[in-house]
């Protein structure tokens, strides 16, 4: 036990003495949490909207005015010709283009029915889907308004059947994206810092030759590893704490569930990451290799975690793969506990899987660390 304390002491001294690293460990993550959380939104707004009005009538102008009034669209330009409009589309200056044909008003009054051309840049398929919904909604509302304006109260009809839907958004009434993203990005930052630092740590001593000096001492493997990893565990927990405070103070993210439960889970989770880091460290000869492998797994873990894109939309095999992704569990737990107030029983599956993961990874790490070769 005393031996471990000496190692811990040494590691802390080395961390705090490395002036180049300190800001990267402590300032950069905080900075990113505060700034980047604002970037992660799937909301579709400020849509670049253009139109070609070949009709030039009161009806066509009224319709365009509807788009102008919508908060989703930035009505950009009135294109005199189709050629100019499609050039603007190619340049990326317009994403949604509305074409009102000749004799639009006349035909509408005559036929009581008419169609409009809408062209949507669909490279971002999801956004295009949403844009289509917005356009349809605006046009439907316009339909209703002309009904009132133009329709003579002549033919009495039977009351149409109406199903009234009431959407209720629980836990996040205003559909605020930051509520969703801040806990997730905090997970990433805690993970990245602890993984990169622990992944580099032992391989670094290998590279500068000090590991050999350690290996000729009678120190036990487990003592050495615990001593090495404990400081990173503390850093991870510290980062979580600062992140949670910022989430509350700056973003006003609710903390509905139990804080001790969150800390309990995180304390186990960080062990998983440290185990992975150490395992990578043991299997590589240079820091460069170690970081490259760590980078590879981080990118996969991040993008397959359900943090940015929903897991249930992935194909089945990919969903199975995410079962082996520790970040996935942390993201889930963080959101469940903070935003919904899920309790111990609710997160028990995640907690158990994480604990098993932690055990396996650390067993592998200790096993693969060889004092003798």
């Amino acid at each position: 036990m005393k031996t471990i304390l000496y190692i811990i002491q040494k590691e802390f001294k080395q961390i705090f003495r490395n002036k180049g690293m300190l800001p990267i460990i402590f300032v950069l993550p905080i900075f990113q949490l505060v700034i980047l959380s604002n970037a992660a939104t799937f909301e579709v707004k400020n849509i670049k909207f253009g139109y070609i009005d070949s009709d030039h009538t009161a009806t066509s102008r009224a319709l365009i005015e509807k788009f102008n009034a919508s908060t989703y669209f930035n009505v950009l330009t009135d294109f005199p010709s189709e050629a100019l409009a499609s050039a603007a589309m190619l340049k990326g200056e317009v994403d949604v283009l509305l074409e009102i044909p000749n004799y639009f008003e006349r035909d509408l009054q005559k036929e009581k029915q008419n169609s409009l051309g809408v062209t949507i840049n669909a490279i971002d398929g999801a956004a295009a889907g949403v844009e289509k919904v917005y356009v349809t909604q605006i046009v439907q509302r316009f339909n209703q308004s002309i009904k009132v304006d133009l329709l003579q109260v002549s033919d009495k009809q039977i009351q149409p059947i109406a199903i009234e839907t009431i959407p209720l958004f629980w836990y996040n009434k205003t559909l605020n994206y930051k509520t969703f993203m801040v806990p997730g990005i905090l997970v990433l930052l805690v993970t990245m810092i602890t993984l990169f630092l622990s992944g580099m740590n032992i391989v670094r001593e290998k590279e500068i030759g000090t590991l050999e000096q350690i290996n000729v001492t009678p120190i036990k493997k487990s003592q050495f590893i615990i001593g090495k990893l404990f400081p990173f565990w503390v850093i991870g927990m510290g980062l979580l704490t600062v992140g949670l405070i910022l989430a509350k103070v700056i973003f006003n993210i609710p903390m509905i569930g139990s804080l001790p439960l969150l800390y309990l889970y995180t304390s186990i989770y960080i062990l998983v990451i440290l185990g992975i880091g150490l395992f990578i460290s043991n299997f590589t000869d240079t820091q460069q290799q170690a970081m490259f492998i760590a980078w590879f797994f981080t990118v996969i873990f991040i993008l397959m975690s359900g943090l940015f894109t929903p897991i249930e939309s992935m194909p089945k095999w990919a969903q199975t793969l995410t079962e082996f992704n520790p970040i996935r569990y942390f993201v889930e737990v963080m959101r469940m506990v903070m935003l919904k107030g899920s309790g111990f029983k609710d997160i028990l599956p995640q907690l158990l899987k994480t604990a098993i993961y932690a055990f396996v990874m650390n067993a592998l790490a200790v096993w693969s660390y060889k004092k003798t070769n």
Partner: protein, 242 residues
């Protein structure tokens, strides 16, 4: 193994694929001896030493260090030996005092004992003034002396030195050998590799390795007589050229 033998090696071999880096070497080292382990670069000195200090598993042969078997009791060996590597292996980003404290700590010395050791070592090395400086900022000679002291911090029975004087000036080398003598005088067995042949003269006995094999082993005096030359340099040249 009698009480006086602290290292006993028989047919020790390390293979890398088909290549025998250490080819069935046999020798023993007596308590309190300064044993010189000579050879050209790449002769297999460091590989042999790493097997003796328990960080590399031999391919074949037998070896006992401080009464422990290198195969099964490597961790026990580590308690009884000190090691100073060829490459400087203390922490550049810790101070002199912190390095001593750290290694004292992992060898299981008590806080009190570490304090005493720091005082003694700093005085011996004349490093009192720089005890709070980062080791990285010290000149190489001082670093080497510090590494040597650190390898003796737990009063080991045997200390292994791998080319301890590589790259240092003649005066420091001289001081270094005085430290080695002092340690030997206090009963520590010293196992030292070097390729400075003048240093070989300071050893009680030397072995000369060529291509993984020990080609000669005796006191410097007897070796010179055997090869009919006046210095160890010539002994070495005769052997190395075959």
């Amino acid at each position: 193994m009698d009480n006086n033998t602290v290292i006993q090696v028989e047919g020790l071999t390390k293979m890398y694929g088909d290549f025998a880096a250490v080819d069935a070497i046999t020798f023993d080292v007596k308590k309190g001896e300064i044993f010189g382990f000579l050879g050209a670069n790449g002769a297999g000195k460091t590989t042999a030493m790493k097997m003796l200090i328990g960080i590399s598993k031999p391919t074949a042969g037998k070896a006992q260090v401080a009464g422990f078997d290198v195969y099964k009791q490597a961790e026990n060996i580590k308690k009884s030996i000190g090691y100073m590597s060829q490459k400087f292996a203390l922490y550049d980003d810790l101070t002199v005092k912190e390095n001593i404290t750290f290694f004292g700590g992992i060898y299981g010395l008590s806080r009190k004992r570490i304090k005493e050791k720091i005082a003694i070592l700093l005085e011996e090395l004349g490093l009192e003034d720089v005890s709070d400086q980062l080791v990285g900022a010290l000149p190489l000679g001082w670093k080497q002396k510090l590494s040597f002291s650190v390898s003796l911090i737990h009063d080991p029975k045997i200390v292994f030195l791998d080319e301890p004087t590589g790259g240092v000036d003649p005066i420091t080398r001289r001081q270094f050998w005085e430290m080695i003598y002092k340690a030997a005088h206090q009963g520590t067995t010293v196992f030292v590799t070097t390729h400075y042949m003048d240093e070989a003269e300071y050893c009680d006995r030397v072995s000369i390795m060529v291509n993984g094999k020990i080609e000669a082993l005796d006191t410097p005096k007897k070796l010179k007589a055997q090869f009919q030359v006046d210095n160890m340099n010539d002994v070495f040249l005769k052997l190395a050229r075959g």
